[in-house]
Symmetry: C2
Subunit: 397 residues, 2 copies
């Protein structure tokens, strides 16, 4: 028994090796067959670079603003002007009336989610996630002493089931994490779904006489296709906190820049906002990185190359369904969620024979599927299809 | 009783108002008397701007590197090249043999400290701090379920007392936070002090058969005066983790960029390093901001304007001692630690009459003193001295 690091972290060092193995497998295959002959669909890393405006905005900030302002401390919630600009850009889109007082700039969405959870959770409070979901949420919840409660996937459309939610809520339920457009399914939760979930939450809030929050994790909000509308959750449910990140929409995942939006309508708004700002400080973020705060404020109308992701989406979906695979048609994100004709881990293992790397659904608490991340070049998708064809034959499709 | 936010955060929202009050008091006085007539010594915010090299390094990175590399994901521990550059710059200074494998780039020192603490602490493990100390450490420790144990200040030179340390160590002691050059005292812990502390720790490690770590928080390492040498702790004690930040040395506090240095010699090195990298990920940092990682790697030999801080130091120390105040001569940082002839909170209150803002020692777990942050323009120091003179008379010095 190791007495050097904590028991929890010891467990995580052992788990982490699964991810590392996949990464190392990609490198091993690339060495053997050449990087261009490996079809790595395992990582949700934006393929199309940040729009040029990001770089010019950074140059502008450095040239026009005082050095101590650009690199200096500001309130823990972020530069007031940047927060106001974010609020106004939301107001234009969602007919809301937010101001800087509703926005906390955060170290990505991951940083924001941790602040929201620390703000809300007492030890042993419960937080609900709908499977399949990004398993990292479980780590975030555990960071703050909370307990993860998983509501299993229901119908095949991967819209969360309000009745299953009702059964999962207990007097200890403090929050629900919603992620739409969804990683890993690519599904956008419909207005109908949101209304049903909100009705259950309203009912349970009354029953238990305490607020239950939706924490809406929205890094993929801007990645929706066919003009699909991603419902703005605070318009449907009062106690909603939105976490956003520019990691995907501006292809800035390394910069760690996002925000929390806390509407004035949430219960005890001033306490919640104040606590989340303090949490930003005490968790060690202190504030979102300053230069990049100032830069993204100039890029609020910029977007990554969604048309190219859309091309990939159709190429992959059409290619795989033509081979007989059963896929969920992605409405958003850059993930395709595919049913596996055999055990999902076995499928991921078999796929490696054809230099194809995908993530088993078990890694999202939903076995029987795999996630195929199409944030890659179109050539990678085209190149992978013969391998998928052989897989289909091998599995009797 | 509020049931919206957690009990811990509710307590912190109430405490936080003390800091906010000081900030608002500064603004109130500035409105009444003009900003230039307010002598605000309350905040440790670098006054001298980042060296010009920082800005040119950022431009260089943007111009010469691929966009997806600059703003993209990298290993959670940071860009391998950046980590190698940091390791080599330490090797040059301290005759060590670190490599990228010993460095984790972090979101400032605050981010790094949180990762180190999460790595080490099981619930109710104890972490020792020597008073006076930066109270935020208490929040960081509590984030990870640890308990803060305070060793009171001993002798008037504010060097920690090894015998007091021995008494404070229990079987639950997992770590000790050391901060030298010290905020708030400006003292550099001497080699003699470090050796004595190390001897006690070695003895207690043997007694309890488990490692006790020093976490060395070193944001002020580069801010030392008169050629004073800040001992490199890992050379004196094997189980040392160093947390660094460029917030003060390059005046980049808003950018949140620092590192953890974990020597290969620490017990269970691979586990500790792996856990700290995972902690960087799961706490929501994910990685240190990417562009600024690449930029600081080009600025490892740059320094802020230490000569000007030194001018301030002498001006303030000489001015105050001439008035009869009892001050600790600062060897490093940009803080002066002054004994108060009356209660420290009362002194801070009295000082406001003369538009002087200082922080009571109680805010560092050490009443009877105040911290005067001289990271200000020299004019602020000169302008404040008549007010300090009136204070001295009022208090019978």
């Amino acid at each position: 028994m190791c007495s050097t690091i904590s028991k929890r972290m010891l467990g995580l060092t052992q788990k982490n090796s699964a991810v590392r193995e996949m990464f190392e497998e990609g490198n091993r295959l690339a060495k053997l067959y050449g990087r261009e002959n490996v079809y790595d669909f395992s990582i949700g890393n934006p393929y199309f670079p940040a729009p040029e405006r990001v770089s010019s905005a950074i140059h502008e900030v450095l040239e026009n603003e005082a050095v101590n302002y650009v690199h200096g401390y500001m309130p823990n919630a972020g530069f007031p002007d940047v927060r106001q600009a974010v609020a106004e850009s939301l107001n234009k889109r969602f007919e809301t009336s937010y101001s800087s007082a509703n926005v906390i700039m955060t170290v990505g969405a991951a940083g924001g989610l941790n602040c929201a959870l620390q703000t809300l959770l007492d030890p042993d409070d419960e937080v609900i996630c709908f499977a399949p979901f990004f398993l990292e949420y479980g780590n975030y919840i555990a960071n703050h002493g909370g307990r993860l409660v998983i509501v299993p996937a229901g119908a095949s459309d991967f819209q969360p089931d309000a009745e299953a939610l009702r059964k999962a809520i207990s007097p200890k339920t403090k929050a629900l994490i919603i992620n739409s457009p969804n990683n890993p399914t690519g599904v956008i939760y419909s207005e109908e779904t949101i209304k049903k979930l909100a009705a259950v939450l309203e009912e349970k809030q009354r029953e238990y006489s305490h607020p239950i929050f939706i924490i809406s994790d929205e890094p993929y909000r801007e990645l929706s296709y066919d003009g699909a509308v991603v419902p703005w959750l605070p318009s449907f449910y009062r106690n909603t906190i939105v976490g956003y990140s520019w990691s995907k929409s501006l292809s800035l995942p390394g910069e760690r820049i996002g925000y929390l939006l806390i509407p004035s309508e949430v219960e005890d708004f001033e306490l919640v906002f104040s606590a989340a700002s303090i949490s930003n400080r005490i968790l060690g973020f202190v504030n979102a990185p300053s230069l990049i705060q100032l830069a993204v404020a100039k890029c609020l109308d910029e977007r990554t190359d969604i048309a190219s992701y859309d091309t990939n989406r159709k190429l992959l979906y059409n290619g795989l369904t033509a081979l007989g695979f059963d896929c969920v048609y992605p409405q958003g994100t850059f993930y395709l969620w595919m049913k596996t004709p055999c055990d999902d881990k076995e499928f991921a293992q078999l796929a490696k024979k054809y230099n194809i790397l995908v993530v088993p659904g078990a890694s999202f608490a939903c076995p029987g599927y795999v996630r195929i991340a199409y944030c890659v070049g179109s050539d990678t998708i085209r190149g992978s299809l013969p391998g998928f064809e052989k897989l289909a034959k091998e599995l009797g499709l």
